[in-house]
Amino acid sequence: MSLGASLRTDPKRELWFAWYSTVAFYSLYSVVFFVLTRTQPPGRPWLTPEQTVAWFADRHWGLLVGFALIFVLGGFSATSISLITYSIRRMSVSRAYAYSYLILYAIAAIPGFLFICVAMTVGAMRPERDPALLHWLYDFGFLSFSGTMGVFLVGSLIWMAAILLDKNGVFPRWFGYLNLCNALTEVVIAPSWIFQRGVLAWNGVIAWWIDVAVFGMYTVVFIYLLRSLIQRDDLGTGPVPAPVITG
């Protein structure tokens, strides 16, 4: 069945729309941060003001084009948050979990991801300003992006609690525990406020590389599990049916 036909006949089309938007958003996000703007992996925290000016000049168009895309399409981050909120609503737990998750992640997106876009775009648009100011924007951009991961910690714990209390079998329980692992790595990035060098700086082996490895696995896993939830979902309120194995 073609995508167009399934959108017309499939009662789950809204869910699939949200799911495909989630995949599209995370792909866009990766392309913007890793390829276009090259703001991930993060720049070195110990740059001097003059080196910062060169850093901005080096990726001038990348920053402008990449973050313009985010300003236009960044709202699609709402699709993954809403789909996850839907998954919690589908569980046998209080709606309070879903609402807390929704509100937390909606607010967390501002320091966790929009601040860096604004700061870096300002830097790219005003290259003639005092290098000290550009240096400040550089620090502000990366510290707001990396240093505020803690805002996602409680959200991850809420999702974990909902999964572990749920009796509808919306997600496998091991994924509940993976949420705990993810929440714990959100703590690890906090020392990047203190260290400008070494393994705990914002580009450090522990604070960045290990964290991103865990977060990357977590993201791939939850996108896959949301897909399997939509496939199994009977759109009811009771237990989600087990997967049907078709030959």
């Binding site: 496998p172 329980r173 091991w174 509940g176 525990y177 993976l178 705990l180 692992c181 714990l184 790595t185 703590v187 690890v188 020392p191 203190i194 260290f195 070494g198 393994v199 705990l200 082996v205 522990i206 290990i210 490895a213 865990v214």
Partner: protein, 185 residues
């Protein structure tokens, strides 16, 4: 041995044990690699640690692990009252461990050995701090066991075993952290 084979606690909890062990192992690898790069500086900073205190902490946590394992045995034998006492003992030993940890941090910081004073201390405070967070979550988990034991309606042997598995995991991580921070030369 003719006992039937069974997974202790919930199978999915073992995913956490393995995954979190691997995450900690990655932190340990970074520490050991860094350490080999600056061996003298690490040895010098390491000499500020108080090994006997570390050993006392280790024994406290090992004993708490034993106590929660005894608790599970009592639960299996349906002796819930005695199981309750073992949970309390576990909490007590965990609190004693945490108290020692706090005292150790206070003493080190008082002597000028802080999170930022040397690379060794950076790893020391990071690893012991991360472990302490796992320990604090462990108190919540022990609270779940106590709640389950107190109320016959909510008593699930599987949940109690799953919670005890978490507590043992906190012990597992400490055993490695202790050897790597206090003993390794």
């Amino acid at each position: 041995m003719t006992e039937t084979e069974r997974v202790p606690g919930e199978g999915d909890m073992w995913f956490f044990v393995v995954f979190e062990s691997l995450v900690f192992t990655s932190y340990f690898c970074v520490y050991l690699y860094d350490r080999a790069q600056h061996e003298h500086a690490f040895l010098k900073a390491q000499s500020a640690l108080n090994l006997p205190l570390g050993i006392v902490e280790t024994i406290l946590l090992l004993t708490s692990s034993w106590a929660i394992a005894r608790c599970v045995q009592e639960v299996r034998a349906a002796r819930y009252r005695s199981a309750q006492r073992f949970v309390l003992a576990t909490v007590g030993l965990g609190v004693a461990f945490f108290g020692c940890k706090l005292a150790e941090w206070v003493r080190l910081i008082g002597d000028g050995h802080t999170f930022t004073s040397s690379e060794f201390m950076q790893h020391f405070f990071f690893l012991t701090g991360m472990h302490a967070i796992h320990l604090l979550i462990g108190f919540v988990v022990l609270g779940v066991i106590r709640y389950q034991l107190a109320d016959p309606q909510h008593r699930s042997h599987q949940t109690i075993e799953t919670c005890s598995t978490y507590w043992h995991t906190v012990d597992l991580f400490w055993v490695l952290i202790f050897a790597l921070l206090y003993i390794v030369r």
